[in-house]
Amino acid sequence: MEDLKTKLKEQIIEQLNLEGYNVSDIKDDMPLFGDGLGLDSIDALELIVLLENNYNIKITNPEEGKSVFNSINSMADYITNNKK
């Protein structure tokens, strides 16, 4: 699970163009949206693409995405439970 979380952080930094961020800057339980990492609505859509391209998981309802993308922890849990 730790490997997955580290990999996720690397993928997020790259795909979302988070310049100047290191893996150590993103805490596992840090809110990804709002106060925390401060991602926006387009970032949310890119995370959906990230799940599809890297983990073969398709989220079709953006509302579902809200709880999945809460933090690295929630993303890692979701991937572990749904990976195909």
Binding site: L16, L18, E19, G20, I42, L45, E46, I48, V49
Partner: protein
């Protein structure tokens, strides 16, 4: 009579404001150059990194002029209009977007956002909270007459100033000419906003 209060030229690794060089870099790529210029201007705006090359260029150009002459933005939020143009729309990003899904991947929404050239106007407006008019034109070449006519229309209506830009990017180059036209000659450079002067400034520094 209105005036070109300030202007700049940006091309790979160099910037000129009002005819004088302000920055020079040895960056090894266009994208690195834009990052280096962003850093040199000490801008604290992480959204910059999400922009595509065309938008970064426009954004950086306006920030460069604002930095050199902060007084140019002393207007109410609906008094500055934006008038930009280029010759190839959002072609570079269009290709990147297409590649994101062509080979079985999922199309990238953050790339799709920039497949319209006028998004750069939106980014400048968002950064500065400017609610004035904004227009983007696609022409084969820089058309001084178009800019003169349109700016005069805008200054006769709601605008006190117009931020203008003609910028082109492709795989191998970036080139921007930005100029700020206002009713008052803010910096006192004494550059009247008329055709021959505009063409002269556009052609300055051209290799």
């Amino acid at each position: 009579m209105s005036y070109i209060s300030t202007y700049c030229h940006i091309s790979l690794n160099q910037c000129f404001v009002d005819g004088k060089q302000t920055h020079q870099f040895n960056s090894l790529s266009i994208d690195q150059f834009l990052k280096d210029l962003y850093t040199a201007l000490s801008l604290d705006y992480p959204k910059f990194y999400k922009m595509d090359r065309l938008t970064k260029l426009a954004f950086i150009g306006t920030e460069l002029l604002k930095k050199e002459h902060p007084e140019i933005t002393m207007y109410n939020d609906n008094e500055i209009a934006l008038l930009f143009g280029n010759n190839n729309s959002s072609a570079l990003t269009d290709i990147n977007f297409k590649e994101s899904y062509q080979n079985g991947g999922s199309p990238s929404p953050s790339l799709f956002v920039y497949t319209l050239p006028n998004i750069l106007l939106g980014e400048i407006a968002i950064r500065n909270k400017w609610y004035g008019e904004n227009m983007f034109i696609v022409n084969e070449n820089f058309d001084s007459v178009y800019f003169i006519n349109y700016v005069n229309i805008l200054l006769n209506k709601n605008a006190e100033a117009v931020f203008c830009g003609w910028l082109n990017v492709n795989d191998e180059m970036v080139e921007a000419f930005l100029f700020f036209v206002s009713k008052k000659d803010i910096i006192q450079l004494n550059l009247p906003f008329e055709k021959s002067k505009l063409i002269e400034l556009y052609q300055e520094n051209k290799l």
